[in-house]
């Protein structure tokens, strides 16, 4: 199948420090890829670069074969490239229902509507409640975000990304800060995604990575040092070296 998402020779440096070093990767519809790597490897920066939040020094990003490097962040979202944030960015005074409804309305080009309220739009409300219920947030849907627990805010962050019905979804550590008892909900939500959606998930929880991904990419110091099957990643010498003394050992010990 032809690629839906291509990254070619992406480079970025912060005041001399190279954070993204000639990164290239390609994803086809339906891909389930995990991007792993030690803290500070440049994973979040990679997401910021491809979504247009940061400008690369050089390199190219393509969506459905079309070069989007010169298109701004909003245009890339509208072309189906959606991300979630490692640190939740939610609207404290708004409810989960409002967050998801706004995403749904925006997706359908109706977020600029000046009359009516989503609470009286049955199709929007139903879709929003369905999505929130799937992530275990049904009871909290009309609470202010500032009143709900951080783990649940993380789930809402994912719900918002899903509500936009992307073609390429980039999840930046979706399970970080989510209680162990709730990570199953994330997995279920991911399992229920349309099969033609390409998903790239940054994640530290290796159990989750192994259950989710058919392909693992390892980033270390801004460079891709491994791109292959989950079965091979633990055997790879370079990967082991990159992780030496880091959480990989800890999680193996556990």
């Amino acid at each position: 199948m032809s690629a839906v998402f291509d990254v070619l020779n992406l480079k970025k440096a912060f005041s001399g420090l190279t954070v993204t070093n000639d990164v290239s990767l390609s994803m086809a519809p339906g891909d389930r890829v995990a991007l792993i790597g030690p803290n500070g490897a440049g994973k979040t920066t990679f997401v910021n670069l491809v979504t247009g939040s940061l400008q690369p020094v050089s390199g190219e990003v393509r969506l459905n074969g079309q070069t989007v490097t010169k298109i701004n962040a909003i245009g890339r979202v509208r072309r189906g490239l959606v991300r979630s944030f490692q640190v939740t960015r939610l609207f404290q005074e708004m409810t989960p229902a409002e967050h998801v409804a706004l995403a749904i309305l925006q997706r359908d080009g109706r977020a600029g509507k000046m009359f009516g309220n989503f609470l009286s739009m049955p199709e929007v409300l139903d879709e929003a409640s369905g999505l929130l219920a799937k992530l275990g947030l049904a009871d909290l849907m009309h609470r202010k975000v500032s009143e709900i627990a951080y783990g649940q805010q993380r789930l809402l962050e994912i719900a918002m990304a899903l509500a936009l019905k992307p073609k390429v979804l980039l999840l930046d550590e979706p399970a970080a800060g989510v209680p162990q008892s709730d990570t199953g909900r994330i997995e279920q939500a991911l399992a229920d995604l349309p099969s033609d959606l390409a998903v790239l998930m940054i994640e530290h929880d290796m159990d989750l990575v192994f259950r989710f991904a058919k392909r693992v990419i390892v980033l270390a110091a801004g460079t891709i040092i491994f791109d292959g099957s989950p079965a091979d990643v633990t055997k790879d010498a370079a990967v082991r070296e990159a992780y030496l003394g880091s959480y990989a050992n800890a999680s193996h010990a556990a």
């Binding site: 979504t51 939040s53 962040a73 909003i74 979202v77 509208r78 959606v82 991300r83 944030f85 960015r89 939610l90 609207f91 404290q92 005074e93 708004m94 409002e98 409804a101 706004l102 995403a103 309305l105 925006q106 997706r107 109706r110 977020a111 600029g112 509507k113 000046m114 009359f115 009516g116 309220n117 989503f118 609470l119 009286s120 409300l125 409640s129 049904a138 009871d139 849907m141 009309h142 918002m160 936009l164």
Partner: protein, 331 residues
């Protein structure tokens, strides 16, 4: 399941109740004002005109987080548009004059929005101050159109609907103002609850997050500025119609700053707060300036400091907080 349907239906009902309470409160307050100050309807009409300015300011500042000390540019443009339409073009029908005010305010809103929204924070504030001085100076220099510092006179609106004269006591103007305010209030209640209103609240908190959803904060805010201009323009037109003059003070930094003070006094981000702030400020100012012409500014200052320190969310915002907390305790 049962519980879910309850929460689902609870919310819209509650906001409709609040709409009705708001409409009733405006009508009752207007009637009370009429009974208490029958000889000073001009003041009450001016309060309504300024309330429209403060509501308009609330739209961009309270709902969208734009910092501006130049919002009277929108109000004054509406006033001059209505005044010039009447004095120079013979458009003396009060409804058409109001329409001219809406257009004038909306165009000024578009111009100010495009410029002010290029910056954030303090530079934004400086841009807004520069704009109000430019508007003021422009109106001052274009004296053949605006009457310059003498003010624009020769505005004599026709009877409303052809039958209600704008009388000397200002009864018609007052009733006209109350209806304009009610219409604007109802429309704005729709607006702030709409998807567009949600988008604006989101932008106020985190414009980058809104961009990550594929929406443009810039375009949304410019739309809001145009709407805000239309609302302020209605206020300006009402002022032109009721006083039959338009002065440069309607386009001043002082008026802009006072509007912001009234908004903070009542509480930002709520239509009720904007209305309450305007009424309290202007009645208090009118009362103390008559009671104590020498120290009234001191008293206004003391009132403001008191409110900002003791009720940082403004009079309405703080009162609303206390009431919701009481209600929550009970359930």
């Amino acid at each position: 399941m049962n519980r879910e349907t309850v929460t689902k239906t609870m919310r819209p009902n509650r906001s409709i109740t609040r709409d009705l309470i708001g409409i009733a409160a405006i009508i009752v307050a207007s009637a009370l004002g009429y009974l208490l100050f029958p000889d000073n309807l001009a003041l009450l009409t001016r309060i309504i005109a300024i309330a429209l300015l403060v509501l308009s300011l609330d739209l961009v500042t309270g709902y969208c987080g734009v910092a501006t000390l130049g919002h009277a540019a929108l109000f004054g443009s509406g006033a001059y548009a209505a005044g010039i339409a009447a004095a120079h073009y013979g458009i003396t029908d009060p409804l058409l004059m109001t329409l001219a005010g809406i257009l004038g305010g909306a165009i000024a809103g578009l111009i100010c929005g495009v410029i002010i929204l290029r910056a954030h924070g303090l530079p934004q504030l400086v841009l807004s101050i520069s704009l109000i001085y430019l508007f003021h100076e422009f109106a001052n220099k274009a004296s053949s159109w605006t009457g310059g510092s003498d003010g624009l006179s020769g505005i004599s609106p026709d009877p409303l609907f052809g039958s209600f004269e704008f009388d000397l006591w200002g009864q018609t103007a007052y009733v006209f103002g109350v209806f304009l305010l009610l219409a604007v209030f109802v429309l704005l209640r729709f607006l702030v609850r709409s998807p567009f209103g949600m988008l604006c609240r989101g932008i106020k908190e985190d414009p980058m997050r809104i961009m990550a959803m594929g929406a443009s904060p810039k375009i949304t805010l410019i739309k809001m500025y145009v709407i805000s201009g239309a609302v302020a323009g209605i206020g300006g037109a009402l002022n032109a119609i009721s006083t039959q003059v338009v002065g440069l003070d309607s386009l001043s930094f002082t008026q802009s700053a006072e509007a912001l003070v009234m908004l903070v006094l009542g509480g930002t981000g709520s239509l009720f707060g904007a209305l309450m702030g305007t009424v309290v400020f202007m009645l208090f100012e009118d009362y103390v300036s008559a009671a104590n012409p020498f120290h009234w500014l001191t008293m206004v200052g003391a009132l403001l400091i008191g409110v900002v320190l003791c009720a940082p969310k403004g009079l309405y915002g703080t009162a609303a907080d206390i009431i919701t907390r009481r209600l929550e305790k009970r359930t």
